[in-house]
Amino acid sequence: MDSFGDLLFYLVIETGFLKAALVVNLLLVVVMILTLMERKISAWIQERHGPNRVGPWGILQPIADGVKFFTKEDIVPSHVDKFLYIIAPLVSLFPALVTFAVVPFGDQMTVNMFDHLVTIQFQVADINVGILYIVGIASLGVYGLIVGGFGSNNKYSMLGGLRSSAQMISYELPMGLAIISVVMLSGSLRLNDIVTDQSSLLAWNIFRQPLGFIIFFVAAFAETNRLPFDLPEAEQELVGGYHTEYSSMKFSAFMISEYSHIITASSLVATLYLGGWQIPGLAALNLPIVAEQLLQILAFIVKTSFIIFIFMWVRWTLPRFRYDQLMNLGWKSMVPLGLLNVVLTAAVVAFF
Amino acid sequence: MLSIPVHYFLILGAILFGLGVVGVITRRNAIVIFMSIELMLNAVNLTFLAFSNYLNNVEGHIFVFMIMVVAAAEVAVGLAIIVAIFRLRETVHVDDIRLLKW
């Protein structure tokens, strides 16, 4: 620790602290953008104008929203379980943010920084069981909803929480099955290996695993509680579901966590099925390494954005499922299809 | 990660196991009793992993997996039973369900 540079190096590079902070903040910013994006897309789909008053084309609308949320009165209803009520939005936000930790958004590159030759990994944590980590953390997303629903001490919230727990458990299964197929093809649980495994366009898992892709995609909708699977917060039935009793920044936290979930899910779809940060044929161009890296990160962003767009597109296009339909789809279609996919993939891996 | 003595984990396991026992004995709610049993199982898991590390033997990990499987199966069946009992008796308190003592 002889110099500030060394200290900085230690903090930034060795612990990954800076990288983590950067990623989290980036995520929050992206969430902000997404709120606007959603409103714009919905307006576009519904042939409306959407927000256009704050700033040019309304691009400052998220900031205005933020200010509004912060300045609103933070109402804590008297009948709620205070501790759970307050902790629920945080519990909800936490898994959405930490999941992103293992998603690789670019290849690694070695640069000289402060006289240190460092390898920069465009990924917060490159753990060798990354995909399992995702499955594990993703399953925690339900706690925010359950705790919020129960802590609100309100029957609508409670039903929302109940529905979400059932829904989460149900759709984790096909999701896991789809992931298993991918893992079988790549032979590794490390996300980076999964990405590099899809080096050419045809090697993208969307082509090798079309069924798995559909299953994963549908399950991702359910896991993020997006339409057509947003039963936990179905307005017509449950008022607002688990966040009925929330207001102000706590409500906002739920919103942020929902959008964070979308981002994480989209990036996962991109990583697992669309080749992640890979651009097929990029290596042939022999670009400078920094340019190559930036292009790859850009490719990742583009892919993820596209998936996010599909999320929104679907939301404003499809009606909501009924609860029994949701369960039937989950247990009677998705799970058997997922099992079939696993068996087929295993056969292919074993015999070809 | 060389600074933690193995027996710390064992003692932590012992404490958790004891807590589980206390829960099983004192609680009336069958579901909570169930959770206490899970606590005990996890205490055992911790012990297994500690010994596995100490002996540098993978069998501890295998055992932990088996325990998890058993725990999952147990929870599935156990909760189904509790739900069935609730549907029949409208209670999950074990002191209301003591038909053997009639």
Binding site: - | I25, T26, R27, V94, D95, R98
Partner: protein, 634 residues
């Protein structure tokens, strides 16, 4: 011979099974089936007999019956001179009685059951005489005992019949107990139970010093089955059964099983003079003793029953003194005339609406002629009037008895006199004199149907001429003939005869004894004539004069009462004591106390079962702590 002899016992068994299973459907046909089954057996028996006559005998195993460790009992049959004679008697007389029973039992409500028992009896009896080993003998022995029990108690709704059946069974058990032990002794000593095996190894019994014991034990069984003193008490009571049963089982066949057994084991008994002596003493005593009881009895069937016991005594005298052929000869002739007597008695009862008291009969001769005539022939035969069959056989026994010891002859002769007297009394009171029949009954007196009289006639023929096959040698010498029966049975008793060396009497003495027999018989008949026809001597006055003797005889020497008082009552008293004190107080008490203790402990222990899962769990944890503690600190 092997190809058909197994059919002989099988046919009655089949008949028994058919009648037993479908008797209630067959009803009247049951008797037909049973009779045909026995007839087939009889015909095959005749065939077997003819082959034996030609000198062909058979002794071999048909199949393995029981195999347990080193012990093996085969289903083996032995057809020799002795068993072929027995087979003829059993199936022949049996067939006639079956035919007779068709008429006698007509209209009974469970004929099927009756004929099933009868067939089963014939099967068992045939097994008894045909088997080539002790186990089959025992099987037949117990089988006939069972059938006897079942048939005595055939009218099971009559308490006296049920009681009589039980009595027969229990008394027989006493004898069978000894018999079984005798078999065990023979088996443990020799290791085989086949006749041929025992015959070859009989020396080992002698050297082991158990020959007398074994013989006496076997004779104990014979005593029970053949109603010898003191195990005779069941036979008079057995008259509760239907009359054909009395004829078949308690006169002609089953009761002679003992005689057959002793004859069969002649080679064994000949080794033990003691046993022979015991047989002679018991036989003599029974012959005389039973005859005296017959003197005063008024029940037609009971008189015949005592007569049977007495005649069995004569047979035992015969086999006891070593005149086996004579014993078996008497067995055969007795089967003829005693079966005839019983059937005749049955016919009389049939005519008189089941009246059995001879004091309420009389002057029946004119009304039921066939019955009366055949009955008279049997009477002459049993009394020993030449040339009827009984004369030859009884005379032969008495002659041999004289050779053994004159005293035996003397008692036998007295018995013969009494026999002639009481049989004459029976006949005179029944068929002659003035009628004492109930006027109401008298109107309905009728001769029995053909199906009953024809067997009577056949048996009468046999009773008359049956004796001619065994004309004594010294008589046959007159025209150069021989005693066919003796010669025929010679091979069976050769071994025993060789050892015993029967004393030969001079011809003069033999003629003298024969004459004495005839005179004795005639004397007995004359005395009865004086008393019951001429009324020269008033029997009632005689009874009043010797009141003590009369009542003693009338009450059968108080034997039943004596057994009740001396044997049964102590047992009953002791049983009551065991029941009320040992069983109820001590054994039940112990059980109750243990139950009480369990209950007391339970009162405490059941508090442990609270129904609270947690309590159980905590006990479990305590257990864990204890086990851990033991493991840690020991």
């Amino acid at each position: 011979m092997e190809d058909f002899i197994w059919l002989i016992p099988l046919m009655p068994l089949l008949g028994a099974i058919i009648n037993g299973l479908f008797g209630h459907v067959l009803k009247g046909k049951a008797g037909l089936i049973a009779s045909i089954a026995v007839l087939i057996s009889f015909l095959y028996s005749v065939k077997a007999f003819l082959m034996v006559l030609d000198g062909v005998t058979f002794d071999g195993d048909l199949f393995t019956w029981i195999a347990a460790g080193s012990f093996q009992a085969n289903f083996g049959l032995r057809i020799d001179q002795l068993s072929s004679v027995m087979m003829l008697v059993v199936s022949g007389v049996g067939f006639l009685i079956h035919v007779y029973a068709n008429g006698y039992m007509h209209g009974d409500r469970s004929v099927g059951r009756f004929f099933a028992y009868m067939n089963l009896f014939v099967f068992s009896m045939l097994m008894l005489v045909m088997g080539n080993n002790l186990l089959l003998l025992y099987l037949g022995w117990e089988g006939v005992g069972l059938c006897s029990y079942l048939l005595i108690g055939y009218f099971y709704d009559k308490p006296s019949a049920a009681k009589a059946g039980l009595k027969a069974f229990l008394v027989n058990r006493v004898g069978d107990f000894g018999f079984a032990i005798g078999i065990f002794i023979i088996f443990t000593t020799i290791g085989t139970i086949t006749y041929s095996g025992i015959f070859e190894n009989v020396e080992r019994l002698v050297s082991a010093g158990v020959v007398t014991t074994a013989s006496l034990l076997l004779f104990m069984g014979a005593c029970g089955k053949s109603a010898q003193f003191p195990l005779y008490i069941w036979l008079p009571d057995a008259m509760e059964g239907p009359t054909p049963v009395s004829a078949l089982i308690h006169a002609a066949t089953m009761v002679t099983a003992g005689v057959y057994m002793v004859a069969r084991f002649s080679f064994l008994f000949s080794y033990s003079e003691t046993a022979m002596l015991v047989i002679v003493i018991i036989g003599t005593f029974t012959a005389l003793f039973a005859a005296t009881m017959a003197l005063v009895n008024n029940d037609i069937k009971r008189v015949l029953a005592y007569s049977t016991i007495s005649q069995l005594g004569y047979m035992f005298i015969g086999v006891g003194v070593g005149a086996y052929a004579a014993g078996v000869f008497h067995l055969m002739t007795h089967a003829f005339f005693k079966a005839l007597l019983f059937l005749g008695a049955g016919a009389v009862m049939h005519s008189l609406a089941d009246e059995t008291n001879i004091q309420k009969m009389g002057a029946l001769y004119g009304k039921i002629k066939i019955t009366a005539l055949t009955f008279i022939m049997a009477w002459l035969a049993i009394s020993g009037i030449p040339p009827f069959s009984g004369f030859f056989s009884k005379d032969e026994i008495l002659a041999n008895a004289y050779a053994y010891h004159p005293l035996v002859w003397f008692f036998g002769a007295v018995g013969a006199f009494i026999t002639a007297f009481y049989m004459s009394r029976l006949v005179f009171l029944t068929f002659f004199g003035e009628s004492r029949v109930d006027p109401e009954v008298e109107k309905h007196i009728h001769e029995s149907p053909r199906v009953m009289t024809i067997p009577l006639m056949v048996l009468a023929f046999l009773a008359v001429v049956g004796g001619l096959v065994g004309i004594p040698q010294f008589v046959a010498d007159l025209w150069g003939g021989s005693n066919h029966f003796h010669h025929f049975l010679e091979p069976v008793f050769a071994a025993a005869n060789e050892r015993l060396h029967l004393a030969h009497l001079s011809h003069a003495l033999e003629y003298g004894l024969m004459l004495a027999s005839v005179l004795i018989a005639l004397g007995g008949i004359y005395l009865a004539y004086l008393m019951y026809i001429k009324k020269a001597i008033d029997p009632d006055a005689l009874a009043a004069k010797y009141k003590g003797a009369y009542t003693t005889l009338y009450n059968k020497y108080y034997v039943d009462e004596g057994i009740d008082a001396g044997l049964l009552n102590p047992i009953v008293v002791m049983s009551r004591w065991l029941w009320h004190f040992v069983d109820e107080r001590i054994i039940d008490g112990l059980v109750n106390v243990s139950a009480k203790i369990v209950m007391l402990i339970s009162l405490l222990v059941r508090r442990v079962q609270t129904g609270y899962v947690q309590h159980y769990a905590s006990v479990m944890v305590i257990g864990v702590i204890l086990v851990l503690g033991y493991y840690l600190f020991s």
